[in-house]
């Protein structure tokens, strides 16, 4: 009960909804789990689904985005606090329950991905803050019997300067509840921003350095069991005979159950569950994927790349122009399957009852997961509650189109009849599929006598991520999966004749979006091949790009900034050379200059990466820098190390010893420069990734004269003869 008004909270929000005018703000706030009405009694003012202000002056921001490291538990509150005029030191963050009020403002489901959080919440959350501020001011004006126009809000207070009076937000919370929500809100002039654009310390840091931050793996509930699954050795294989005698004799093992994903050993804790899993004796019917191998896929893809595919872009007459060009260049590029390898292995805790289901997990895909869980549980989606914990990395893997890690956990809980947490081992993660697809690209270009490119053709071969998902109808058109050709079809260079086409072979390896998605491969391919053209034309790769981007001011902005900060053209010590690349992704522009050297044995060392980014107006500059740094390291891991391969249908890698990550001793110095901008804010979580592989490959060419056309970079290809 809300003592002040005598209304139940839910009634208030219904009333709020009825009063709602022209604002794009949902007034519906569902009952939140884990906290009783009594606990909430002091929090009386909740003008919309994103804000609760307590009589104790606390300001709770409900964040509808998953915090997976990209800083949304700080940037989302900054948007609200800026307009609310809250005292930043009183801000607390809570993760949103699943509710339409928290749907992605563009995609229409509750999810985090596509580097869109700030981009898509920029308007809505500032309006949410402004609306609350206006209601607090209205409450103060009524209390003082003065005109609201004569009051202002600042640092958690409403102030009436003329009479030198002030009331804190907490003191106003009870009366603000009774104010009519404004029909329109006026947003601040950007010159008055106090938080937006200022480097702001992350709110989640303290909990992440003293052991209190709660990830999915850390949640425990009474009576909970732990399950580890024996998963198929080949994608799609089925267990046909299971001998679980030894598994069941492991002390602590409670049950062995079969689910679609495999055979689950359920025990008192992780260790007995894992020992039990390892003791299972299973005969698998391997099915059609048992013959898959990387070698045969390469052959198949290389053949396909020589044939015309579905056309994603055609300008002019590329084939004819190419045939008659003064100089022709052709090249084939390839990149492997990659696993996301988040540091926190997948896990999901499910408490399934006859009339409800509670789930604790780190997910990027709440609406999809809830629907999938409900279907398996035999419940309505509204009966399924998802508690989104912190994510120990996401990179796309925790937005699974079939909710694989949620569905299997619900199946296990259903079979066992007790709360169960399924934990993936690292091996399960590396071998579990849902990879960045393997790609094979064939490119050809024609240069005129002056060395200007006049024709460009690019054939891309690789599995469609979106085919078969709920996004297929929207994002796959005329045989073109937009995510397969992104970064290639929008080739920005002034080349009059362009053809980009696509083959999307069906292969039995589950694939998924992986940080920067299609750009993770097209950035490498396009920017490496462009570098080949520059060298063929005998031109400086930076000047070659500048000339071809003369009509693209934001590309030029980052390109010139990165080149100047990296001192492009100045001599370098000790066998080092520079490479440059520029790439547009998630509506942001990024240029990078890498300095690399290659030892006699072919070992590549990346010493320094200079990065320039134009992501529109910046909310938290330090987060932008951190995301570029992180994207560069992530991209370097892929460029220098990452490779998932298959033989006889089996993934050949299993843990960090054979699927290695970049480590501290290999991390380059990184400098990040932000182009000042007043444009709409755009992505930062992914755009740091695509440019680094080509920048490094181009530096390797500058250092050795050897062109890297296949990732990861192999020392054996670069060794001095």
């Amino acid at each position: 009960m809300n003592i002040a008004t005598g209304m139940r909270r839910r009634d208030f929000f219904k009333a709020g909804a009825a009063l709602g005018g022209g604002l794009l703000i949902s007034f519906y706030l569902p009952e939140l789990s884990g906290t009783s009405e009594t606990d909430r009694a002091k929090e009386t003012f909740a003008p919309n689904a994103f804000i609760r202000i307590g009589t104790d002056d606390s300001v709770t921001i409900i964040v509808n985005k998953a915090e997976m490291g990209q800083g949304v538990y700080t940037s989302m509150p900054m948007l609200i606090a800026e307009e609310l005029e809250a005292d930043w030191s009183r801000i607390r963050v809570e993760s949103a329950p699943v509710d339409p009020a928290y749907n992605h403002a563009v995609f229409g489901i509750q999810m985090t991905g596509g580097s869109t959080s700030v981009n898509s919440e920029w308007e809505r959350l500032r309006k949410a803050g402004a609306m609350a501020r206006m209601m607090l001011i209205a409450a103060a004006a009524q209390t003082w019997n003065v005109n609201a126009q004569s009051c202002r809000a600042e640092s958690g207070y409403v102030i009436h300067a003329a009479s030198n009076r002030r009331l804190s937000f907490g003191a106003l919370a009870d009366s603000a509840v009774k104010m009519e929500p404004p029909k329109e809100v006026v947003l601040k002039d950007p010159k008055d921003y106090k938080l937006i654009g200022k480097p702001t310390h992350r709110l989640d840091t303290p909990s992440k350095i003293n052991g209190t931050a709660q990830f999915g793996l850390d949640v425990r509930i009474p009576g909970m069991l732990t399950a580890v699954l024996a998963r198929p050795p080949v994608f799609g294989a089925k267990a046909v005979r299971i001998n679980d005698e030894k598994a069941k004799s492991v002390p602590g093992v409670a049950a062995v159950v079969s689910v679609r994903a495999g055979v689950a050993v359920v025990a008192s804790g992780f260790w007995p569950a894992k020992l039990g899993r390892d003791a299972l004796d299973i005969v698998w019917e391997e099915g059609p994927n048992a013959t898959l191998s990387t070698a045969s896929l390469r052959e198949q893809y290389a053949n396909l790349a020589k044939t015309p595919g579905a056309v994603a872009r055609k300008d002019g007459d590329p084939t004819q122009t190419l045939a008659s060009a003064a100089k022709q260049v052709t090249a084939e590029y390839e990149v492997p399957y990659l696993a996301h390898a988040m540091m926190e292995p997948l896990n999901c805790l499910v408490d399934l009852r006859s009339d409800r289901c509670e789930i604790w997990t780190g997910t990027q895909f709440q609406t999809v997961d809830r629907a999938a869980a409900a279907a398996v549980a035999g419940l309505k989606p509204e009966q399924v509650q998802i508690h989104t914990t912190l994510l120990g990395g996401g990179f796309g893997r925790r937005a699974n189109p079939v909710s694989d890690f949620v569905v299997e956990a619900v199946e296990v809980a259903k079979a066992v009849g007790a709360p169960v947490k399924v934990i993936w081992t690292r091996e399960d993660d590396i071998r579990g599929g849902w990879y960045r697809p393997m790609w094979y690209d064939r490119l050809a270009a024609g240069l005129d006598a002056a060395g200007n490119p006049v024709a460009w053709t690019h054939t891309i071969v690789g599995q469609s991520i979106l085919a078969g998902t709920m996004f297929e109808s929207v994002m796959v058109k005329n045989g073109i999966d937009g995510s397969s050709v992104e970064g290639a079809a929008e080739l920005p260079y002034a080349i009059p004749n362009v053809l980009v086409d696509l083959h999307s072979p069906k292969v039995g390896v589950p694939v998924q979006w992986w940080r920067s998605v299609g750009h993770s491969h097209t950035g490498f391919v396009v920017e490496s091949f462009l570098d080949e053209l520059a060298h063929t034309a005998g031109k400086d790769p930076y000047e070659f790009r500048r000339a071809l981007l003369a009509h693209q001011p934001r590309y030029l902005g980052v390109l010139e900034l990165a080149a100047s900060k990296a001192k492009w053209g100045a001599p370098l010590p000790g066998g080092r050379a520079r490479g440059i690349a520029v790439h547009f992704s998630f509506d942001s522009y990024v240029a990078q200059v890498a300095e690399a050297s290659v030892a006699d044995d072919g070992t590549v060392r990346v010493h320094r990466v200079v990065c320039a980014v134009d992501c529109g107006r910046v909310v938290n500059p330090d987060t932008v820098v951190a995301q570029m740094e992180g994207g560069i390291i992530f991209g370097l891991t892929a460029a220098l190390k990452g490779e998932i391969t298959l033989e006889r249908g089996r993934v050949q890698q299993r843990n960090f010893h054979d699927y290695p990550m970049l480590r501290m001793n290999e991390a380059p110095d990184i400098e990040v420069y932000i182009v000042p901008s007043t444009e709409h804010p755009t992505g930062v979580g992914e755009p740091g990734v695509p440019a680094v592989a080509p920048a490094v490959a181009n530096a390797i060419f500058a250092a050795t004269g050897k062109r890297v056309r296949r990732l990861p970079v192999r020392a054996s290809d670069l060794r001095k003869a």
Binding site: I209, E344, F395
Partner: protein, 156 residues
Amino acid sequence: MIALNVNRRQYSVDVDPATPLLWVIRENIGLAGTKYGCGMAQCGACTVHIDGEAVRSCVTPVSRAAGKIVTTIEGLSADLSHPLQQAWIAEDVPQCGYCQSGQIMSAAVLLRENSKPTDSDIDDAMSGNICRCGTYPRIRRAIRRAAQLMASGGAK
């Protein structure tokens, strides 16, 4: 029963002596700050101290910790006052944060043994800890800052 001293508290746990210390700390003692990342001493997310030495608890049988002093991230300081924690806040090191307990526990041993680490000392001490978010440049800066804090007595 195995007697354990974790963060200066005594515990008695009834588990198979071969059980990795990691899972005893997390599930039997209930301290979840120490993380599982690989289970084969490849990533360092599970790093704790046994008698002051950094060990990978995912491959350390709990029996090896019996009668010794175990320190986890929760035992580093009661109030974020350790110079590494202060430096981690100042440099805004964590992104997802999952690996950071292990990073800090490795760095704590480095700084205790070497109050002025060079970049190559930092590489040697920290290259066993993976950060998938790529916070290495900030970890490096934060370790240098913590060393300065310790030298100036700015935090204890």
